[in-house]
């Protein structure tokens, strides 16, 4: 026990010390080069270690993953498009996994923005202390891991056989009105269970959305709001026509961040249903392919599908950054 902590602390110290020495050497090296060479090469030397790490852990594996997706389960022989054909030929993958992921994508980011904006705007009207307390409460689940969140939410969704005392809150409320019990997470009618799992993610993410949007709402210039008020605009009109257009950029940032989180959602589904009862998503299917079927080819193909879905987001991200830099 103690040894592990000690190792960690020593690693931190040694890692930081090594970095100090490395950059000292890089600096000395570039300063002793003849002429202007040192000054020209120096920035590249300072960026190199970080860039190398990013390339080793992102670019190189991404290329290998694309290649592996055209190979068999142990990445030995080329099998062309067979992995993709198998995935898209399976109706449980297309109508289950893919469709569920799409549902998450369609519902969660939008719901997260709307709820976050609502809390931000409403809490803005409270006194400073009320606002701070409200925000801390809503923001708190951000610190909780999704595994923890899923564990915590079992007490809401749990169901016991009919006749016995319900220890899940929803079914306990239902039993007061002589309804149920409903096995919430086993019920895939109208994707009820997937929707309930989305609630868990919303519980964690709305705080994030609220914090960003609240900062944006507060930075809307007061005189634009005053002017609208003078002109006799109602509070609702002010919100829709004056506030929202001015915080558009933040709304998009929040939307994209949640969108990426949702595209790779794994923990919530894995811990609660493990993808059973038609709740499977891409992230969980990836893990199933690796851990249950040992099929690295299919798992790589799933990642490629994910990468293709993320490319537009990446493109937008770069454009957005460029336009921000230009201003």
């Amino acid at each position: 026990m103690l040894i592990k902590i000690l190792t960690a602390v020593i690693t931190v110290a040694a890692g930081i010390a090594a970095a100090f020495v490395l950059y000292w050497v890089l600096n000395q090296f570039s300063e002793h080069l003849p002429g202007s060479w040192g000054r020209r090469i120096q920035p590249y030397l300072f960026i190199l270690p970080a860039l190398a790490a990013i390339v080793v852990f992102t670019v190189y594996p991404a290329i290998l993953t694309v290649i592996n997706s055209f190979k068999d389960n142990f990445s030995r022989n080329w099998i062309g498009l067979a992995n993709y054909r198998a995935l898209f030929g399976s109706s449980t993958f297309v109508r289950g996994t893919l469709f569920n992921t799409l549902l998450w994508i369609l519902i969660v980011p939008a719901a997260c923005v709307i709820m976050g904006l609502a809390v931000a705007v409403l809490a803005d009207r409270l006194g400073p202390r009320g606002e701070k307390t409200t925000k801390t409460v809503i923001f708190l689940p951000m610190a909780v891991s999704l595994v923890g969140a899923a564990t915590v939410w079992r007490f809401i969704y749990a169901s016991e056989p009919k006749g016995s005392t319900q220890i899940g809150l929803l079914n306990a409320i239902g039993s007061i009105f002589h309804k149920g019990p409903v096995a919430w997470l086993d019920t895939s009618t109208f994707h009820l269970n997937s929707l309930l799992l989305m609630v868990i993610l919303l519980w964690v993410q709305v705080g994030f959305s609220m914090v960003l949007l609240s900062a944006a709402v507060k930075s809307v210039p007061a005189d634009t709001i005053e002017a609208a008020r003078m002109d006799g605009a109602s509070e609702r009109q002010i919100f829709a026509r004056v506030v929202v257009p001015q915080i558009r950029g933040t709304i998009i940032t929040v939307f994209i961040t949640v969108l990426i989180t949702v595209m790779k959602i794994f923990d919530v589904v894995y811990v609660t249903t493990a993808g059973e009862f038609n709740t499977d998503v891409l992230g969980n299917q990836f893990w199933t392919q690796i851990s249950t079927y040992f099929n690295y080819g299919a798992a790589s193909a799933i990642v490629v599908i994910l990468m293709i879905a993320i490319i537009p987001v990446m493109w937008y991200q770069v454009k957005h950054f460029q336009s921000e830099e230009a201003t």
Partner: protein, 309 residues
Amino acid sequence: MTSTATTEAAASPTSKTRRRRSATHFDANPARAGWLVKSILIVLCVLWLIPLIGTFITSFRTVDAAANTGWWSVIVHPSTLSSLTLQNYKTALGGSTDMGAAFVNSLAITLPATFIPLLIASWAAYAFTFMQFRGRNFLFLFIVSMLVVPNYVAFIPILKLYKNLGLNGTFPAAWLFHIGFGLSLAIYILRNYMSTLPKTVMESAKMDGASSYQTFYRLVLPMSVPALAAFAIFQFLWVWNDLLVALVFIGPGPNQPVTVALTQLKGQLGQGWELTTAGGFITLILPVIVFLALQRYFVRGLTSGAVKG
């Protein structure tokens, strides 16, 4: 340092709201919360806390009580308060799935993965902000685009790479992976922050004959502490709460972190509710404390416009 640490989010709003409110003080302020808004927010806060409260109470209940009655019965019948026990925490910390050991493992994974990227990213951000060189914009755009790449792309190839190096199941496997994926965000946050620092100070230091190394350690690094803190909290929560990376590279076993241990606790004792709740609290206590204590730095990190993939 504390004055610079105050986030824009926290600093500007008070003055803005005050201005907005004082402008209409002769009038009943239409932007004040009525009873409807207040009750909506109170209900929302209660709803938000219920899952946590329920878990917290259950973690102190006996096996029988947790399996046979809802946690709210403790509130409804306060007479049962005396039956609350610490036994679940004892069992979770000392049982076959040792949450205590897992907690230590989580620390051992998180600390190096949080602190080591800081210096590497700072140097890169320094070069990007204060130095002129060919390809600077292109390289930075590359880093911006790497922000959204999901870590799924790396699991299988890195798993094989680690297998050749004999790293699977060890802490360095997780350290390196988290560092590799944390760097782009770190560089992004730090560069955005450094570009707001006064350039004239760096230039006059250069004029006085300071090397890049000296300028960096004497000026830029100390001035960037708020951004460093923002990233460190970000990365700490990220690594501590991660499940997938730990599952893939470390897996269940002697080195498992709390997130993996918690799923194990669930798997072994399908009906052991009271144990998973105690385990759940052991998992979330540290990030919640860190989060509440350093909330404003975290908010700064978020509002710096970072999008993490």
